[in-house]
Assembly symmetry: C2
Homo-oligomer: 377 residues x 2
């Protein structure tokens, strides 16, 4: 895997990942004005969860016509100047977190607790210690990247050759290591949103990476459950002995979790306790490229058209608790039947109490039952 | 407020709430077969959250034609036999929780931990103590009800007279008290989902009530934050001193919370520390009827068409922690601009890390700025 760095016209970084060496990046001809991110993190005093406020993002690109796709290579509207690429990563022009965010002004009202302009994590501590129910605010430090899997607008991750999936995995691992080293970054989340039902604004095959300045609420729950035990090892052992395994290899097992929240939900867990993608060895990456693609193909074969999904790589925090969390994929879909979507309504959105109409055992049986022919497309 | 009880043909209870006495319920002519709910609660070992599996609900009614509306009064397809009603409450035919659920069979695989067929709360404890990463299962005990606000199919809560809003509040309070007394019920959630964008399957103005056999994940977070302090009093004090108050009265204050997760989000908090709707006194209920309707009218005036929303009444657990949680409304919408919806994608659905494009201060100013004429419709 060969990495080539360059800059877009507004100063954002772009990084190409290729199987062969020798790329000479084409300059970005656009002359874009510099990004002016306004990212702010506030800690909800009622729950302790971090919430990010990003006023500048409401104007972001929404489903442009295919001939103006910013992820297709070259051309006047493209974010990727080179006329062709294998895997390309660049800083998001509409980031949720960005180290260029200016200091946050103190809250002018009584809710301020003097924690303004600290790091997000300092803000978290400030809110916990706050005496008056106030909300600590902090700059939304961090970095958001877009990961393009192919320069073919009509492809998808599931249709790429295994060698390309491997390059994507290597790029994810490299980005994870690099973003984890940014001061203030506490967790790196690698994910793909696919499908308009999930709110995807660009159809070109791509994923994203969020380098958060805090540990996410879901991971905080896992840290609390993992204290003092081998939580992920125990769960993997129980699931491998259970009836919900979808596919398994020497290094990885994919299963529908016993307490699945979504009508389609699969977790893919490595057999070795590793904190993140960067820690995977060559054998684990090679098997992952095959198994991950197989899993996506099974998902796409469930219904008549490709499955809308969120595929998220849960990685350990960069600091405290790093040894407690095992890297794993959580892939899920809102589709509960052909043409039917699971909406998050009162119970899920209001109370975080999920109701799932599809028994996990039945979902696993369906995903197992997809024939090799269907799954290999 | 006058309460009249009856039974539907399949044995489910229906309760009418009227301003005047004298209702004589009409018998249900349908001869429906008994409901056979299959509700099961599992505790996610990775997060400790309860997840509910309801296989029987995948076939539920989805946007029937208006002339087959099951919430319009009388007629062969109606759930409400009487030819007219003010407020009617009945047990949901497709419940997420139901005391008639049969025992849960033990998991046939290695994930079983011997907690099968316990109460949901026992299951939670079982999972916490489980040594092998297994998932405890329990019957989804509890009860789900539908609350019809009016027999006028084309109305909405915001358009009802204040006297009817008051009857709805009294019905909510009565249902909260009665459902809280069911053995095994740990928390009662009163909510309204409104709009197809939120997944509403019936347009007739109505809300729902879930009587959960566990304390919901969001409330569990609040309990953790509230231990040893007056969390809700502190938050209310800070917000009343802040810049995000929308409307306030003698007994209630509505504000956009400093760490709002949604593009439109308003909390309505009583000034007195009460655990639930049943504990509200006459003065608080009278003001609530006026303020709640005013709030909904402001929301509907934000855009050209009525706002899709979830309006959820957070109430204290029936048991442990009851003194720590204050009743309050959390109302929010997925609409972030005319014709634009906020989707829950990777960060929100995968990591529970909300990104909000609308600064809460700006949202509050917009809701305050809706003129009295617009708000009183």
């Amino acid at each position: 895997m060969h990495r080539t760095r360059a800059r877009l016209s507004d100063g954002r970084e772009i990084i190409y990942y290729d199987e062969a060496p020798g790329r000479v990046p084409v300059p970005d001809p656009r002359g874009l004005p510099p990004v002016e991110p306004r990212c702010e993190v506030r800690r909800d005093p009622l729950t302790g969860d971090h919430v990010t406020i990003t006023a500048h993002r409401n104007a972001r690109t929404f489903l442009p016509p295919a001939d103006q796709c910013p992820l297709c290579p070259g051309g006047p509207a493209s974010e990727i100047p080179d006329p062709s690429y294998e895997v390309a990563v660049f800083e998001n022009r509409f980031p949720s977190f960005d180290v260029r965010t200016p200091p946050v002004p103190p809250l002018v009202d009584g809710a301020a607790d003097g924690a303004a302009d600290g790091a997000a994590d300092g803000a978290a501590d400030g809110a916990a210690d706050g005496a008056a129910g106030g909300v600590a605010r902090a700059r939304g430090d961090g970095r958001c990247e877009v990961v393009c899997f192919t320069d073919d607008h009509a492809a998808s991750m599931a249709l790429l050759p295994v060698s390309r999936v491997r390059t994507v995995i290597d790029a994810w691992a490299d980005r994870t290591a690099e973003l984890s080293a940014i001061p203030g970054v506490r967790q790196v989340f690698v994910f793909e949103n696919r499908g308009v039902e999930i709110g995807v604004t660009l159809h070109h095959p791509h994923g994203q990476i969020y380098a958060y300045p805090f540990v996410t609420p879901r991971t905080e729950r896992m840290l609390a459950m993992a204290a003092g035990r081998d939580l992920f090892g125990d769960v993997l052992k129980a699931e491998r002995a259970g009836s919900r395994v979808v596919v398994a290899g020497e290094h990885w097992t994919a299963y529908v979790p016993a307490a699945a929240r979504w009508p389609v939900e699969v977790h893919l867990m490595p057999h070795r306790h590793v904190p993140d993608l960067a820690a995977l060895d060559d054998g684990e990456r090679a098997e992952l490229a095959v198994l991950y693609r197989d899993l996506l193909r099974r998902c796409d074969a469930l219904y008549d058209d490709p499955l809308p999904y969120v595929a998220g790589w849960h990685q350990a925090p960069t600091g405290a608790g790093r040894d407690l969390v095992r890297l794993h994929l959580e892939l899920f879909s809102v589709r509960r039947a052909p043409g039917k979507i699971k909406y998050l309504a009162g119970s899920e959105s209001g109370m975080a109490a999920w109701i799932n109409d599809v028994p996990p055992e039945a979902a696993a049986a369906r995903l197992r039952g997809v024939t090799a022919g269907e799954a290999s497309g």
